[in-house]
Amino acid sequence: MSTSRVPLAPVERPIDSKPWSKVAPRLRSTVILVSVLPLVASLGIWASSGVDFIVALFAVFLPLQLLGGAIAGFVGYGRRGIADGLLVVVTFFLSAFVLILLLSVVWSVFATGFQALSPHFFFQNNKYVGPTTDLSYGGLGHALVGTILVVFFTTLITVPLGVATAVYITETQGKSRGLIRTMLQAMSGLPSVVAGLFIYSMLIASGVSSYAGYAGSLALVPLMLPTVSRVAEESLRLVPKELRNGALALGAPSWRAFFMVTLPAARSGIVTAILLGIARIIGETAPLLLTIFSNNGTNWNLFSDGMASLPTYLFLNLSFGTDGSIARAWGAAATIMILVAVIFTLARVASAPRKARKAKK
């Protein structure tokens, strides 16, 4: 191939060498250039001509950046690199666009919501609070209690059901696995408001019960069950067959093989399943509005009287629409998000790989 022969001495390749991750200097400078230029150009056009930001973003920045990506791809990898460059630009653009919007949700909740938060906001209830009462009085303590009770009761019912369903689908050779799976799929599409209507017609319209916390919990069960069982099923499915068969071959009965081998192996997945289930229902509003309505006082009893919950508290305050009540709604939103964040952190810790925890000891 090459005309001049270079004496080749065997060279030991360093273990951590990554020749593929080296970027040619020319490509690197092109990449930097094409990432900066469109930004500068579109910022300049936006600032000087005064067009809408969104127009500048889509009509100026995006085409320029696409062109830049194509050029960088061409410089780096020739004609076949053009598509790569475009792909990377589109990926970055779309991801960043929607991430900024989603982060704006989080940011506005915390920035606005924290103004409403104060110790008494968590401990006091909504008695004697009207739409115009200012924030120095009253809070969502009653709603916090309600949400925790309702969600706890739902979890208590749903998690054993969901995990056992997943066991039926993955571990047994039962005949109706396909049917069960279809039913769960159907249930996962059950609109939350229909779940509320269902419990309303079953318990409340038929006169079995009046508005009560447990009715809300029951309305949340069909919403949580598919999430729990689907995620649990996925995680049980991921456990290698060899482990399970190994346990069975050693003479373990199926239930021991499940509880001592499969379940521990899938532990983090099961925890994730419970977590995602809770996260799925903690903000459900419509079913609770239809089944437990609300309450301005604190109610510790799941089985009698209406009960407030964080989502319904948020909803009703937002519906009032006065400045004070909207501030309370933001406070409730911040509280819900804090709860979700706490659940997430707990689950992360619980499902952290065992190796990492042993290393810490």
């Binding site: 076949r80 047994t172 039962g174 069960i180 939350s192 239930w255 948020l314």
Partner: protein
């Protein structure tokens, strides 16, 4: 003791120990609860909704227009709401899918590991933002911004019929509702997609790269076809979520009852069955509640059809999953 030769027997998976029988029976019972719940939902809703169906006629109820409890005989038809539900959910899905797949692709195949780990946590967290919080944000923060977008869209593309606009305000239109919904379902789709991407057989991707494929052709020819079934499943899951979504839309959509808004997505005239139930439930009379129950039945049946379609597609795309 004489040794008898072993008799040939069939290996079978049937549990033979008592404890195993109990274990499997409990699992089966729990699994059948799914069927029982679905049946209960249908039975109780149908029982309550029957008078409304009888009075209005099923087809007229689902496709007709008008919702008025003050005239005699009362008119309860949910045609505009049903169509609006489908339209908004479809638009939201169309908006969300490219973004969601981009995020998943970025996390799994482009981002360095530390960035990917934090992005995964972030996406999972965002997927858990409750819809009522999204509704609050959509009404107060995002709504005014999106009104500006809608105006721009109308000025630039107003000659295309779907972007025409003849009502007073740009707020509370199906366009804004579907943007809010789309943003809400992005994390759902992208966490499913990411899961599928990261569980893909890495050898296949490495093989493609070794054969000289570039990023784009690996994505188009290897990654997407391999994971298509799962992604479609995730998308339909999110579509189902979007159809049944109540509170996120309730605050950002103006309902019309007496006409179907076929395609003018910038006009503040939309429809949504779930929002209808929520907005009418408070002051509803007995017959109106029956009609709302009937609306719930229709919504449930439609989501059932969508989901049946979804599982059919997923099963066709991933036949190995049902083995």
């Amino acid at each position: 003791m004489s040794l008898e030769h072993a008799t040939k027997r069939d290996l079978q998976m049937k549990p033979y120990r008592f404890a195993d029988k109990v274990f499997f029976r409990v699992a089966a019972l729990a699994a059948y609860s799914a069927i029982i719940i679905i049946l209960l939902v249908l039975i109780f809703l149908l029982q309550r909704a029957y008078p409304a169906f009888e009075q209005q006629g099923i087809l007229a109820f689902a496709t007709g227009v008008g919702w008025d409890s003050s005239v005699e005989p009362q008119i309860f038809r949910i045609g505009p709401q049903l169509y609006g539900t489908l339209l908004i959910a479809a638009l939201a899905t169309v908006i969300a899918v490219p973004m969601a797949i981009s995020i998943a692709y970025f996390i799994v195949f482009i981002a360095p590991r530390f960035l990917a780990t934090s992005a995964i946590i972030l996406i999972d967290f965002l997927a858990a933002i409750p819809s009522v919080v999204i509704g609050l944000w959509g009404l107060i923060v995002f709504g005014p911004v999106a009104v500006g977008w809608a105006e721009t869209l109308h000025e630039a593309f107003g000659w295309i019929p779907i972007f025409s606009h003849d009502a007073g305000t740009f707020a509370n239109s199906p366009f804004i509702a579907s943007l809010v919904l789309g943003i809400m379902i992005v994390p759902i789709i992208s966490s499913v997609t990411r899961e599928i991407f990261s569980q893909m057989d890495q050898e296949v991707i490495k093989a493609a790269i070794a054969m000289g494929a570039n990023r784009e052709s690996t994505l188009r020819k290897v990654i997407l076809p391999t994971s298509a079934g799962g992604i479609v499943g995730g998308i339909l899951l999110a579509f189902g979520r979007a159809m049944g979504e109540t509170v996120a839309i309730y605050f950002v959509l103006n309902l019309v009852y007496d006409k179907v808004n076929w395609f003018e997505i910038l006009n503040p005239e939309g429809g949504n069955v779930a929002s209808l139930v929520l907005s009418k439930f408070g002051e509803a009379s007995q017959t109106e509640i029956e009609a709302l129950m009937a609306a719930g039945v229709v919504l449930f049946v439609v989501t059932l059809i969508v989901n049946a379609l979804a599982s059919f597609i997923v099963n066709r795309a991933q036949p190995w999953r049902n083995v």
